[in-house]
Symmetry: C2
Subunit: 283 residues, 2 copies
């Protein structure tokens, strides 16, 4: 089983099977966050700094930074946001943009080994993003979608994961620096979507051996009591072999620590009990 190492200037985080699930804080992302979007359009990075600190305190291991919203020049703003986050916390960053030029500009100022979010199985994405990942010695999230979209079943997802790994290796990126995201889609729209993702995670683990991340919350789109569904799905994903999760850390850390303990990824229940005591003393 492979390990993916990412780092800030001073800290290293290891993503690996059998280790505690690495939590990537998702909150620096203007999608659905009006206040953050408005601040970013105005070039104000105060919320970026505050969210970086808050997520670190909540137990995030890596901070995702995404500034993509209408009215923002990502090539100009993403490096500034990355610098703001680097100034606020000493955690590794996940540099998140659909624009390769913005990734390039942000990687240029980043100190350490970043996680790039993301490359897909689309030819255009592979050609634009992989050379950047190679040039900056970064790691990269590989999303299992291609020109035809996200496959409905596990088989299609695994096939695209395999293709991304082959292309990454051909571009000179070590296999262990690719973290596969099996892409949760709404179970309310397709009843088989949950098991397709869980089965894909199991197969990527057993057949490809690389690390696996997941942004899980799409699974519950359009359904009531989303937190209940998200929690159940996170537990399933950890049991199936996800080694990192892109999440709202403060909300979901308890269930993920429970899942880690149940998955033999928290020896002597040390992290689980410590987090329980922190919750108790915070009450």
């Amino acid at each position: 089983m492979m390990e993916t190492i990412v780092s800030s200037a001073t800290r290293e985080v290891i993503i690996g099977h059998g280790r505690p699930t690495v939590l990537i804080g998702e909150r620096i992302n203007p999608a659905g966050k009006k206040k953050l979007a408005e601040a970013l359009v105005a070039g104000n990075l105060d919320i970026v700094r505050a969210e970086a600190v808050a997520q670190a305190q909540a137990g995030a291991d890596i901070i995702d930074v995404n500034v993509g919203t209408f009215g923002v020049d990502e090539v100009a703003l993403l490096p500034k946001a990355v610098q703001a986050a680097m100034g606020a916390v000493d955690l590794p960053l996940c540099i998140d943009s659909a624009k390769p030029e913005a990734l390039d500009a942000a990687l240029k100022v980043y100190k350490g080994k970043a996680l790039v979010n993301s490359v897909t199985g689309e030819e255009r994405s592979l050609q634009a993003v992989l050379p950047l990942v190679k040039r900056y010695g970064a790691a990269v999230v590989g999303l299992v979608q291609d020109d035809r979209g996200v496959p409905r079943d596990a088989e299609g997802r695994v096939t695209i994961a395999q293709r991304i790994l082959e292309k990454a290796e051909a571009a000179g990126i070590p296999r262990q620096d690719v973290v596969i995201d099996c892409l949760a889609t709404a179970v309310g729209a397709d009843a088989s979507a949950g098991m397709a993702v869980i089965e894909a995670i199991r197969r990527v683990k057993s057949e490809l051996g690389v690390n696996i991340t997941l942004g899980a919350s799409n699974i519950s789109f359009g359904l009531p009591d989303r937190e209940l569904l998200n929690n159940a799905f996170l537990a399933m994903a950890v049991a199936a072999g996800a080694t990192a999760l892109i999440v709202d850390v403060a909300r979901v850390r308890p269930i993920i620590l429970a899942a880690d303990l149940l998955s033999n990824r928290d020896h002597h229940a040390r992290r689980y009990i410590q987090a329980y005591r922190q919750r108790q003393s915070a009450q």
Copy 2:
């Protein structure tokens, strides 16, 4: 994949892969319940009736009836408790005792096809319980333990499951009438216990094809915030292939319905949304 059918005088419940998880209400069991234990010793079955009704209202599909406690003659009391439960609800019963003579006496008065809880892989248990299951045309829960106790790993659990199935078939019991319980043990005592059970469930499903039940709450024994661990574990068990669960239905039905939906066992999210609306209107 096999289906196990159990019934009361008027209702049938089908346990099967791909179907909604069947909930076996665990509350009629004096272990750890002082008030119920005292009532049973006094021969008072009012709580049995009340708990049967409450669990049926909470969404139980089958009601477990266990009266085993110090000071109770199970051979005399179990049939009375079974009759009390039959009089209170029209759900199938799970007749639960470690004493074969008590199972015999209770099966004699039961109307329908009961689920007997349980036989183990111990020679003495197989010899005493299987002929009763055959004689009364019941179904039976097979616990994966033998004279050496509960195996630590998945492999040992699957081996005992296989042995129970062979012995059942040799006794004339159809394979589909055996429901395997992979036996959760405390993850606080053995960090590998959670994954051993989940892996055993996956393998019993794929290699043996029979139905799988689980009394999940032992997993969290000795740890704080047990509900968090139990919920995560129930979601994992459903994703792995458990088709029935022995649980406190009122407490855990929401997470199990979420897990069913995510596991493609709740088409159009009908049950999930209906339960959500019931919770809303009860508030």
